[in-house]
Symmetry: C4
């Protein structure tokens, strides 16, 4: 079950076709989040450096802090204490939360789309039925015309 | 890819038309959250002021606290210790969480709507096909009538 | 804008009709969350009481802790230190998260439903067009029959 | 209300049929999350062991830590201090968040599906109406043919 599920998910992620808005938005948000975390970790160290009581003083530490901030876990082992450090933290938080929103919404859209494909197939069945009816009515007209012209042309 | 995506998102946000319920609700929730955070920061300082062991004692500090509270990060560097301070914190938390819910739901609705527009175009194709069939049947009637009246009118 | 929005939201919440599954589920989850928080606060005090280093020792404190736990803020000013206290905390967390999921999903369903109502109106337009076509075809048959019977009955 | 709701939810979870993608994905994510938490708790103790200032030193403690990490509560009573401990924490956070996204999206899909089933019934009504129209038009042809052949065959 799982391997088939992963295979399908990967095919959608790697394949060119089928990349609709929700997939693009979720991937863009994840990319932006990664960039914001990498740059934000560097910027927060620059902002906090030299401040008394600051704990975000090295890049690896700041990277770990950006992870627990973006995921909104916030253990409290590291946090900014300067104005600019807190502005950067706010950006990391907001981008993080928006990214989960995008991913959750993209998942919902994917699930809803799969459910509707099933129903779409039903709708296509209705369309075929409709075509058949149109053909049947035309056949009735053909027969009617033959009835009207037949006895007159064949003496 | 990204610039096109942002352009479309901005056009929807700034344009008058196309502002449906989900967009209005997400924008209203964001606005309310901003107001709750600004007012809540001021109110929490008023509530905590003068209490022994209180750490939410200045407005800038309280504003930072309201950000980490609304995003549910909660480092624990600042937190209310009085009854009313905690009531205000609860309001900030609940409004914050509801806002993300609204934004996530609005994103999902936007994505689902885009997917359905594609399908809607398919449905319109079916409607055109239907119109064509109706016209064809009328043409058959015209021909049948001409067959019935023709030989009688033209002697 | 806002008052109209709130009026509509309230009408849906208070009105009997229109209470579909998503609304019922979100309301049930919110109710369960409230009950779990009230009972959990009492239970966590009972579990933690008398343990060395415990900080969840009074009901009002535990109630505040249950709020910051259910919203996943987790400042770290209060937390359980015993096995049963942590079991109760896990229940509060899981019920809290599931409730936001329910509320977010219900909001998305509400938004999507509103968008589809618009499209549904379009579909109804198509149905009316369809009825009209059916009537027009029947009228053609009526005329054809009159053409066939008329000249024979009226000598 | 609640018992009926739970009964329906259980029937969907336990029944074989009706297990669509969103249900499978949510269940798979929950299963993976459970495994990641159990293995991650063991791994984080192995990573942190013997490090000065480490607080994640026993398995039960680490299990509790994995719960507050996966739910993004993060009290800050326990947190990793080593590189590998933080890598494991990151995995627990990301899997945790993705799982809530999956569950929320699955709930939304379930709710939306229920709403659409109602509308689907309406669409079926339209289809039945369509069938009836087709039958009525065929009946008109039958009558027309009888009118054309009748007077000639019966002398």
């Amino acid at each position: 079950m799982l391997s088939g599920f992963l295979a399908r998910a990967l095919a959608t992620l790697l394949g060119r076709e089928g990349r609709s808005l929700h997939l693009k938005a979720a991937m863009a948000a994840t990319g932006i989040l990664g960039a914001v975390m990498l740059v934000g970790s560097w910027a927060v160290v620059a902002a906090e450096e030299g401040t008394r009581g600051a704990n975000l003083t090295t890049y690896p530490r700041a990277l770990w802090w950006s992870i627990e901030t973006a995921t909104t876990v916030g253990y409290g082992d590291f946090f900014p204490v300067t104005f600019w450090g807190r502005v950067i933290a706010t950006v990391v938080m907001v981008v993080g939360i928006t990214t989960y929103g995008m991913v959750t919404a993209a998942l919902a859209t994917w699930f809803v789309g799969r459910e509707q494909k099933r129903r779409h197939r039903l709708a296509q069945g209705a369309e075929e039925l409709y075509d058949e009816t149109a053909r049947a009515l035309h056949a009735r007209f053909d027969r009617l015309e033959r009835m009207l012209t037949g006895p007159r042309d064949q003496p």
